[in-house]
């Protein structure tokens, strides 16, 4: 046995027990770690730091403290868009999460037929840019849209359009999160509930809900923050309705006002960061519930639920295919709705 392999064996035997000399590979790993830290600093921390600094400077680059922020809060046109963003994202999340919950529940907890098909249908939009969904809505409900009457004369461009497109855009994300949340539940609890003759409603609130409420919270947070920070949809369909993301674009591209753009960016960054911290915390709790002894849930046919879910518990099931099929025809209809009508 050569000295080299003896050294390797030694390292293996004493790897946990006593401090050892640094191997060459350990040095390599340490240098790689350091290189990653440095590049992460250069690509994340320093730029965002520069952004923060800029928000305290005026156009000439001299330090003015909180003056930009005061201007921001005192200009109602600017500050309003913060609440616009907030309301739009909260409304979207409130709409999407129950829909996604019902959809995922139908897929995992009932015996409804054509499950793979519906799962696929829900997840197709992941491949489609959010902007395209907004454009599709313009064609469906816009001023020359096919289904314009459905909005009862309300203009699409503005909060309705943003919420509509955001709902379609975020639905698959929410479904994915809900699917994982609903998958991780212990079937033994349902056996126990059935044995104790617990009612369906009570079982839902005392078994199903506690097991997936973290998932629901995560989905809500993710949807809210995605809509809050999204730019494309608001740009295409937002009209005169101001949100934070389009404000940044207008300030920076339209008026070259970098410091105000930086201030609005900070207004966008802080809520996103808080939600990120909350989400990490919630996600950690979700993982701890499913143990090795748990049995995965297998649904029983229950005709009431089947009829309910298959018959269209979530309206999106019909709305989404309609949007897609119409949109996929779009590029080939050279003049759009005007030639159709």
């Amino acid at each position: 046995m050569s000295a080299q392999s003896l050294k390797g064996l030694n390292a293996f035997l004493f790897v946990h027990s006593k401090p050892q000399l640094m191997e060459r590979s350990d040095w390599l790993v340490r240098w790689v770690c350091l290189a990653y830290c440095v590049s992460a600093m250069c690509t994340i921390v320093l730029p965002v730091g520069a952004l923060f600094l800029r928000s305290f400077n005026n156009a000439d680059g001299s330090f003015v403290g909180l003056q930009n922020y005061l201007t921001y809060f005192n200009t109602s046109a600017l500050f309003d868009s913060f609440f616009n963003s907030l309301i739009v994202s909260l409304v979207t999340a409130t709409l999407v999460v129950p829909m996604a919950f019902a959809y995922a529940y139908g897929l995992l907890r009932t015996c409804m037929p054509f499950k793979p098909f519906f799962r696929g249908v829900a997840l197709i939009p992941l491949l489609i840019p959010g902007v395209l969904k907004a454009i599709a809505l313009v064609y469906l409900f816009g001023n020359q849209g096919l289904l314009r009457e459905w909005l009862f004369g309300h203009p699409l461009y503005g909060p309705i359009g943003i919420v509509g497109a955001s709902v379609i855009w975020t639905f698959p994300f929410a479904v994915l999160i809900m699917l994982t949340a609903l998958q991780h539940v212990d079937h033994r609890l349902y056996h126990a509930a059935a044995f104790l003759k617990t009612s369906v409603w009570r079982t839902f609130w005392h078994v199903t809900w506690p097991s997936c409420r973290y998932g629901v919270t995560t989905a809500f947070l993710v949807v809210t923050v995605s809509v809050f920070t999204d730019f494309g949809i608001a740009k295409v369909i937002g009209g005169d309705f101001r949100v934070l993301a389009t404000d940044i674009y207008k300030e920076v591209i339209g008026q070259q006002n970098f410091q105000m753009g930086a201030v609005i960016s900070v207004m966008l960054l802080i809520p996103a960061f808080v939600v990120f911290l909350l989400e990490r915390q919630v996600a950690g709790k979700q993982m701890a519930q499913f143990t090795g002894r748990s049995l995965p849930y297998t649904p029983k046919p229950w005709f009431g639920a089947m009829a309910y879910f298959w018959g269209g518990a979530s309206p999106s099931r019909f709305l989404l295919p309609a949007c897609w099929s119409w949109r996929s025809l779009r590029p080939w209809l050279s003049f759009g709705p005007t030639t159709l009508t």
Binding site: F12, C37, P47, P129, G232, F258, A262, S325, P331
Partner: protein
């Protein structure tokens, strides 16, 4: 795969129809934007997958420097908290700061690739981390005791086992880079304008049909790449991971 079957049902359009579509496209905005997007997404995905995998490997498998790895892990999750638009503006401000040695990057393709990879970093990192966690630590110790070099361990064991995850990461970055808008809208120049930005600009001029067409181009590429990923994945996985039947 059931998901893909249902995809075809909804998109019964194949290459013939996309050719018509390309003809429609010529009068609109340039074909070059689409090429830029493809180039950027390919670079971002390939470069990103490599960087992400090495990063995740270092974080997960290194035996020393625990605090350094924890700090690195924190840094790698940070992009999840930063909206793309904010990151893009931060890059714009940072790179135009006088005296920044990296200012030559401005207006090039590299800055788009860097900002996209940074923007998308966290999710692929977590994917790779999960895949690496599936590989027992003891295997490394066995390799060490048999005096196998780190590179050999990496190429013979770790990479083949994690290949599915690496391919997934590549796909994720590619798809997101094709459609990303917020991270690049402040950073493009006239030479490196991407298709997703072109969609917004066409839409601003009011020709919504062209915008839809350009966006549809992106969808077709995403679908094609998704299909290619699936086929290549099947082949590669069958070769390197015959024990996994999918």
């Amino acid at each position: 795969m059931a998901q893909f079957a249902s995809l075809v049902k909804f998109w019964p359009y194949n290459l013939n129809l996309t050719l018509d579509h390309y003809e429609f496209q010529i009068e609109g905005i340039g074909w070059i934007n689409f090429g830029n997007s493809l180039l950027m997404a390919t670079f971002a995905a390939s470069f990103g997958a490599l960087i992400v995998f090495i990063g995740a490997y270092v974080v997960e498998k290194a035996r020393r420097d625990a605090w350094l790895r924890k700090f690195l892990q924190l840094l790698m999750l940070l992009p999840m908290a930063i909206p793309g638009l904010v990151l893009g503006l931060a890059y714009l401000i940072f790179i135009n700061t006088s005296g920044n040695p990296a200012s030559w990057l401005y207006g090039g393709m590299a800055i788009l690739v860097i900002s996209t990879v940074t923007h998308l970093y966290s999710v692929p990192h977590l994917t790779c981390l999960t895949a690496l966690k599936g590989l027992d630590r003891e295997i490394e110790s066995v390799g060490l005791s048999l005096n196998t070099s780190v590179t050999r361990m990496l190429t013979q064991i770790t990479i083949p086992v994690c290949l599915a995850a690496i391919l997934d990461v590549w796909l994720y970055i590619f798809l997101c880079a094709m459609t990303t808008l917020s991270a690049v809208i402040f950073l493009y120049s006239s030479d490196t304008k991407l298709a997703s930005i072109a969609v917004i600009h066409i839409d601003e001029t009011g020709r919504v049909a062209s915008a839809a067409a350009m966006a549809m181009l992106l969808v077709y590429v995403c679908l094609a790449v998704r299909l290619a990923h699936y086929l290549i994945g099947q082949k590669v996985l069958r070769k390197f991971q015959p024990w996994r039947t999918s």
